[in-house]
Each structure stands twice: as C-alpha cells, then as structure tokens.
Symmetry: C2
Amino acid sequence: MNELSVELLDQLSQIDLFAGLLTTEIQEILAYARPLTLQPDAYFFQQAAPAKALYILLEGQLKVTQLTPDGQQVVMRMVNSLEIFGCVAALSGGEYPASAQATKTCQAYALRQKDIQMLLPQYPKMAMNAFQIMVQRTHELQDRYRELATECVERRLAHAVLRLVDQSGREESDKIVLDMPLSRQDLAEMIGSTLYSVSRILSQWEGRGLVLAGREKLSVVKPDILSQIAEAQIFSADLKNAPI
Amino acid sequence: MNELSVELLDQLSQIDLFAGLLTTEIQEILAYARPLTLQPDAYFFQQAAPAKALYILLEGQLKVTQLTPDGQQVVMRMVNSLEIFGCVAALSGGEYPASAQATKTCQAYALRQKDIQMLLPQYPKMAMNAFQIMVQRTHELQDRYRELATECVERRLAHAVLRLVDQSGREESDKIVLDMPLSRQDLAEMIGSTLYSVSRILSQWEGRGLVLAGREKLSVVKPDILSQIAEAQIFSADLKNAPI
DNA sequence: GTCAATTCTTGATCCAGATCAAATTTTAAA
DNA sequence: TTTAAAATTTGATCTGGATCAAGAATTGAC
C-alpha cells in the first residue's frame, strides 16, 4: 500500500520478528498492517478483550499488565521500541491475557489476526522468528518467576531497575537516566511488592549514592553496585556492621 | 525407520505438537526421533547444559526445575504423558534454562535440534503447533507469576493441587487420587513456599475433610471447596469465627 | 503567584509465613 | 523384626515486608 521510507525500513529490519527477511518481504507483510498512534495512558487493548491483533511498537513505550480479581495490578512486561506485543493474538486467538497501556506517546503497527494466520505460512522465516520470540519470552518469565519465588524485595528491585537500564537507559556523563515516568507504585507492581517498600529501598540507595530518585524519575549512578546487590554479592544489611 | 504400532500412532496424534498432521507425516518426523526410557529421579537434561534435543513424553511424569545460585529449587512445571518439554532446545539452541527430572518411569522420544530445524520448515503445521504451545506456556506462566505476586500461600497451594488434579488426577469413587510421589517439599517448591507451611495447610485441610494426605501421597476429596479457596470465595480464617 | 491533586517519605505497628527445634510417623532395608 | 533413613507434624519464635497513618515534597492548573 503505502511506500515506506528507507530509514523506516532500516528500523523495521531490526525487529526480531522480521530478522532475516528481505526488505521487499517486510513491505509485503506491512501492507497488511494498520499504523496507529496512542497518547500516554491510552490502552492498545484491555485484558479479557478478544485478541484481534498483534502489534509492532515503532516508537514509544508501554507496559503490559494483569489485573487481579481484587484490583491489584501486576506489571508483566515493559515494551520498548521495535518490540512486538499482543503475540497471543497472533495465533491462539482467544482473549488478551493482559492489558497494554502506553507510558509514552506510542507509534505502532497493528497486524490483524486473520492476516497473520494467512501470512505466517507464507513467510516461514517469520514463523520461526515468532517461535523464537515466544521461547525467549518464556525464558525471561521463568527467570522472573524464580526471582519472585526465592529473592528478597531489595534484590528483586535491583534486578528490575537493571533490566530497565538495559532496555531503555540513556547514558549521560555521570549516570544512566531512565527516560520514562516511573512511580514507586509502578516499580512495586513490577516486582510484586508495595510502593512503601520500594520507596524505603530507593531512599537507602540514594543515601549510598547508587541512584538518584525523583518524583516519577530514576537515574542509576552505580550500576555495578546494583548488580552486586542483584546477584547477592553484597547485602545492604552487611553495611550496618561494616568496618569504616 | 521402525514401524510404529497403530495404538502408538493413535496416541501420538493426540500430541499438541502433531495436531492436524497426517499419521504418515508423524511417522516421517518420528523417523528422526530416538526413543529412551528413564527411571524415576533420573535426569533428561540438566540446567545450563547445551540444549541439544526436544523431548516428547509418551508415558510417565517428570518435573522441570530451576536451581537458584544458593541451592533453592523452584518447580517450573510438571510434565505429563503426551506433552513436550525442552522446547527451548527446539530452535534457540543455547542452554537449557532448567533441569528435567523423572518422577516416575518415563518413556520418551528425543528429537535433536538439528533435525527439528530441518523438519520445522518442512512441516509448517508443526511449526504453527509449536508456536501455539509456546504461547500457551507463556500464558500459563503469566498466570502463575501473578498468583505468586498477589496471593497467599493457602490459595497458591489450592491452585497448585487443582492443577495437578487436572493434569494427572485419577478418579476413584469418593476421591481423586494424585498418582505420583508428591512430598510436602515438592509442593512447596511448586508454589514458592516451605514444606512447613504446606504441611500445616494440608493438615488443616485434612481436618476439614477436603483432602487425604499421606507420606508423598495426596488425594482430593472435595475439589469444589478447594476451588473456592483458590478463588477466594472462602477463607480458612473465616471458619474460626463461623457460626456452628 | 496560590491551591489542589499527586506522589513520595518515614515512622509505627502488625502479621503471614519463614525458620528453628523436636518429636513422630512411615517406609524400606538388613 | 529391628533399625535406620527419610518424610512429616507441630509448637515456639522470629522477621521481612505489608499495612496504616500522617506529613512533606512536587507538579500542574488557574
């Protein structure tokens, strides 16, 4: 349909789903895609809605969350540029198991389920990529599950922050800035804790010069120490009786 | 290679991975598979070993576990007859993210990674199935993650027991028997708790006539009440002050 | 600027469930 | 049958982190 710019195509070929495909093939596939823009806080889809489309995020950021029957929220995943989400829709078809809500202004492509079903057999390479992505996703989720089952809140928070740094950290001279609105509540929902516990730990980290925390802002000053906390080389508790 | 019996082929066609395939196709695929038998407690593969094969469980049962750096175990999944496991190996190739240990005598087929890579494009239907299975797996894992993040031990245990009932419960006249060695420790590892907490809850359930618990044995007498506990319709705590 | 709405901090308290410590029961092996 | 090993129960205690409560800081609207 629409002609895609060279830069855009260059971006698109970086998407895992399209790895190894020719740009002409990507164009053929995207002929079926519908572009859309969402403002922060808007939803791509809501939990339990019929899964109609898979999305490719071009620009922006969003979170995938599940709501429990009693209203608690759990953040399953943060999605960044050039990642796909709503994969369940791709084939299984049922309902979205979670909601997807923009945390920044988002530009994305939507691929309808019936188009995907038609396209996947036509582009086996893409099917393989999709499979690969799901395996990867399961793998990550397993790690987080183990983390939640066995690690204390401080370590889980360290892991979560480091993951965010990896995914969307912008390096400045003396720190790594997380360019997104990120409340204590958000962090708590990522690690299965409460905003109070997160606040306490961040305050303590800030006191030790590991991070800079503001209202819905966070920068990491010493990622290496954070890694040590995440990997249990060091406990904050150890510092209490540490020699000066 | 080997001729497969009619009964076996009938069983095999029930496997999700082979859904929609012709029995001749299944035979072609399984020509590449290597059959193997494992005694209880033996490992199909260990965590961090190079992922060389995907397995199809014909008969028996096993558990997929992750070990934390400090030696705690987490049960990621119980695998029953006609399910596949070690899917990571199928494509991504890296290392097994978990170990697979037989809990009963197991009969399985192993499909080597290189054979899978060759077969998948040849049988697009199978590739679709594999994808579907991974989506399903992710879905389940998400649910368990949310459960772990938000629910109390008693409810998580109820969920876990009901899942086991679904997967491998054998119905008797007055109860549903879980035909597998199942220690308090095993259950604890499935829900991210301790054997002490599990023991206390099972004792309490037994006192209320919901289950029959023995050494490495468990039967469910009132699955409906267990469902209510799992879904928080009822709390054990409520009973303390309940009218007689 | 002022005001109101959010978000965040921090102290105080509480509790589910982990940990510890002994029995006790079950099972299997000698 | 005796005995030892493993699994389980159950009481006692402890504690990480949730919950509650009350300000303080930040932000945006007017």
